[in-house]
């Protein structure tokens, strides 16, 4: 009655786009390419999952790219310079990033500030802090890194499902379950519907806000670790602009920027679409990689226009009603 749900449209765009790519370059339709696509975009998939929660709750988190950057630098230094065992370094950075997110959530709630401003401050803070630690790229040579990087499940057709891809898929599935099946997930939607009403209905709005930003930063921390596996280095300029890529993935995945509606699965599809465009450009070989951004921009615009259309459609019968009743 309301036409196609946005997620389905995203899925159709992905499948149609993939079919077009495969028609031009038949090699794209192989498990090898798909496996690489998942590996290359693992960190984006993880951070975008967290962003989905934040945006559905009616907020935004601009700090995630910087948190990834900080994480890679912190992990590299902790392992290579400070002599921490990798596992301890991971636990430490995850605790740190979760605390960072919780602090941003608390500030947003207690001082009733726009999330945009608070997380913008968080973005500068985290990026600045990572420069403070080190301005140059720090290579990581710990044996665990080569072990993890080499680990992969063989898939028929020559594809490899790498460790980071598995981590990402696990987080996407876990995030989807958390959002759809738990009280926490229902409250995230409630907050996005209306904070005031949710509060009237008994949702602990403050605690929820803290938890949501904590989750987002925690996932950004995990994405940072994954990113460091992917590059085997820590660099304070890594993942600049990833917050925008992940917002794009969330919106392309059918989540309303105003909050209240959306899904993790949609976001995952949005990540795949961005990855697909990147893959196509790599196959073509003659196109500048910046075409990825242009294509993403066009898609983003199309999806926002589509959402507005859907919202207008959903409102129309209501407006009619109100007019008819005197």
């Amino acid at each position: 009655m309301k036409g196609l749900p946005p997620v389905l449209i995203t899925a159709i765009v992905l499948v149609a786009g993939f079919a077009l790519c495969a028609m031009q370059f038949p090699n794209i339709a192989s498990t090898r390419v798909v496996g690489n696509l998942l590996t290359d975009n693992a960190f984006l998939g993880i951070v975008a999952t967290g962003m989905t929660f934040v945006i559905i709750s009616g907020g935004i988190d601009l700090s995630v790219g910087s948190v990834i950057g900080f994480t890679t630098v912190f992990v590299a230094l902790a392992i290579e310079r400070w002599g921490m065992p990798p596992l301890v370094a991971f636990v430490a950075i995850l605790a740190l990033s979760a605390a960072f997110g919780a602090a941003m959530g608390a500030v947003i709630h207690v001082f009733d500030l726009p999330p945009f401003i608070v997380t913008l401050a968080g973005m500068f803070l985290a990026r600045g802090a990572s420069f403070l630690l080190s301005t140059e790229s720090v290579p990581i040579t710990a044996p665990v890194y080569s072990t993890v990087s080499d680990f992969a499940l063989r898939v028929p057709g020559g594809g490899r499902l790498t460790a980071v891809a598995i981590i990402m898929l696990t987080i996407v599935i876990g995030g989807a379950l958390l959002l759809q099946l738990t009280r926490f997930g229902a409250n995230v939607y409630a907050l996005g519907g209306s904070r005031a009403t949710a509060s009237l209905m008994g949702v602990a709005v403050g605690r929820m806000t803290v938890k949501i930003y904590m989750l987002s930063s925690l996932l950004a921390g995990i994405a940072g670790i994954v990113f460091s596996f992917y590059t085997s280095a820590g660099y304070s300029l890594s993942a600049v602009g990833v917050e925008l890529d992940s917002i794009a993935a969330v919106v392309i995945g059918g989540t309303l920027l105003t909050g209240g509606q959306g899904s993790v699965i949609g976001t995952f599809l949005g990540v795949l679409i961005q990855g697909m465009i990147q893959t196509y450009i790599n196959f073509d070989g003659t196109l500048s990689s910046w075409w990825t951004k242009i294509a993403t921009g066009v898609l983003l615009f199309a999806f926002i226009a589509l959402q507005q259309g859907l919202v207008a459609l959903a409102r129309r019968p209501v407006a009619k009603r109100a007019g008819a009743v005197s």
Binding site: L181, G185, N187, Y189, A190, G192, G193, M201, G260, V325
Partner: protein, 514 residues
């Protein structure tokens, strides 16, 4: 007070409730008693204090004085949520639920059935279905609430409130956006709940519905309790008198000596003017030097008529003429261009700009009329402001004072000055004496008469019938969004107006619904 409250049966008792907002006394020593299992209508015109009373009882506003007892025990909720926990649930006209969540989630938000940390979706839907079945609803509870009509959203809100073990259910204008069939569903549910012993407060301005559903009626006027009666023994005329007028004997003599009845020039006329679903087509002539009063209950179409006349609302039929020439009134700009002025009822939200000074507020409309290209010089502004401050006796006589710091009566005068500065030919005043203390009342009324003697045409809306009687040359009575009677000269008195409002409104309402 004829009914001494029977405290054994009373469920919710409010005693001596007072509440002021700044200088405005919204509630003064109001008592209210709700018994278990009754449907109790709370009535009054706009500004009578119904909403304030509800908000004080449910803790949205802190109260200045008085106590509230629920089941004999004193309660003092500090928020709507606390009131809900205490057992007092309110369902507002604007449904306070989340349209983006499913019906089932809305019913069970934050108290979903759980297993292993997961919401038992199936169980929740089953319970939601069972709960709504009690209310005669059989709908897909997994669909978003926003997909359903306002009536179903209302029922969902009520179901949630009742399921949260509410003992008192307050319904604030629940029927305003429902059609007849939906109203019947709601009423059936209300009766069921009352039978279960829940006390229901029903706020509405539809008197037919009040008579249909309520056991008892409490009437407020100007923040005071007028009385509590049993519905069955209260005549409609008597009820309207409670809501609108003071005692007849007081007011009939208040009418000023009838002024000479001479043929005056027509300033603006409206033929079969109206808008479907808004106000039925009406004929109205406004003459220079004449005050026309609009009388009727809240929602009868008074404000709607005023907005059509000014152009704030666009008519879809009929012809408007100014000084005999046909004109188009499609926007407030059109109204201003033809020399109309409009002082709306909601002074605070639609009228004055509280942060700006008296001078700035006064020149606002004049500047808008001249356009931005021809700014008024500061000297002109000062001249205009001081002229009107003197003429209307605005106090304190300081044009540079922010309007928000003035009393209600003086704010009203600033608003009047704003329109007078544009030298209008017709001024529409919606409830000019609302929220103003008694002394300022008389002054505003004197001003209205003076303006009129200067040749201005005035259209005045008021719920205070004795006031309307005092200053009007003609009175148009409205009922159910139609002009039903025009009184002139000797015929203008409170009794005649009340009779015109009350007469067979049941029959009219029934007709309208079929």
């Amino acid at each position: 007070m004829e009914n001494s409250p029977d405290s054994a049966a009373s469920l919710l008792e409010a005693r001596g409730i007072s509440k002021s907002f700044g200088a405005v006394r919204a509630l003064q020593q109001v008592d209210f008693t709700l018994r278990a299992g009754e449907i109790h209508a709370l009535l009054g015109e706009n500004g009578a204090g119904k909403s304030t009373l509800i908000k004080v009882i449910t803790g949205v506003f802190p109260r200045d004085a008085g106590i509230v007892r629920l089941g004999g025990e004193e309660v003092a909720p500090r928020s709507a949520k606390a009131a809900l926990q205490a057992g007092i649930a309110t369902v507002y006209q604007e449904v306070n639920l989340l349209p983006n969540l499913s019906v089932a989630q809305n019913l069970f938000l934050d108290r979903q059935p759980m297993r292993f940390g997961m919401v038992r979706e199936g169980e929740m839907r089953r319970r939601a279905k069972a709960l709504l079945a009690d209310f005669g609803l059989d709908i897909d509870v997994s669909a978003p609430l926003g997909n359903y009509s306002v009536a179903i959203q209302h029922v969902t809100a009520i179901a949630r409130a009742v399921d949260l073990s509410a003992r008192v259910l307050i319904l604030d204008e629940p029927t305003a956006s429902l059609d007849r069939h939906e109203v019947e569903i709601l009423f059936r549910i209300m009766r069921q709940l009352a039978k279960r012993g829940i006390g229901i407060v029903f706020v509405s301005h539809f008197l037919d519905q009040v008579y249909e559903i309520s056991d008892r009626i409490t009437v407020l006027r100007n923040g005071r309790l007028v009385g509590e009666r049993e519905t069955a023994s209260l005549l409609r005329l008597e009820l309207i008198r409670m809501m609108l007028g003071r005692e007849l004997a007081e007011t009939t003599s208040a009418r000023a000596a009838t002024r000479e009845h001479q043929a005056r020039e027509v300033c603006a006329s409206f033929e079969s003017y109206g808008k479907s679903g808004y106000v039925a087509p009406f004929n109205l002539e406004l003459r220079h030097g004449e005050v026309v009063g609009l009388a009727g209950l809240l929602g009868s179409g008074r404000t709607e008529t005023a907005r059509l006349v000014f152009g704030a609302e666009r008519a879809d039929r009929g012809q408007a003429r100014v000084e005999g020439a046909p004109v188009r009134l499609h926007s407030p700009r059109d109204g201003v261009r033809h020399g109309f002025g409009y002082c709306p009822e909601e002074r605070k939200t639609d009228g004055i700009v509280a942060e700006l000074t008296v001078r700035e507020n006064i020149v606002l409309a004049l500047q808008a009329k001249r356009g931005l290209h021809r700014p008024l010089s500061r000297r002109e502004q000062d001249e205009i402001a001081s002229r009107y401050v003197k003429m209307l006796d605005i106090r304190p006589p300081d044009p540079e004072r922010p309007v928000g710091l003035l009393s209600g009566g003086n704010q009203q005068k600033v608003l009047l000055a704003r329109w007078l500065a544009t030298s209008p030919r017709l001024l529409v005043l919606d409830e000019p004496t609302r929220g103003i203390d008694v002394g300022a009342h008389a002054e505003i009324i004197r001003l209205i008469r003076e303006l009129c003697d200067d040749g201005l045409a005035l259209l005045v809306i008021s719920s205070e019938l004795d006031e309307i009687v005092t200053y009007s040359d003609r009175v148009v009575v409205l009922r159910d969004r139609a002009h039903v009677e025009e009184l002139a000269g000797e015929a203008i008195d409170v009794g005649n107006i009340l009779a015109a409002i009350a007469v067979d409104s049941v029959a009219v309402a029934l007709e309208a619904h079929t």
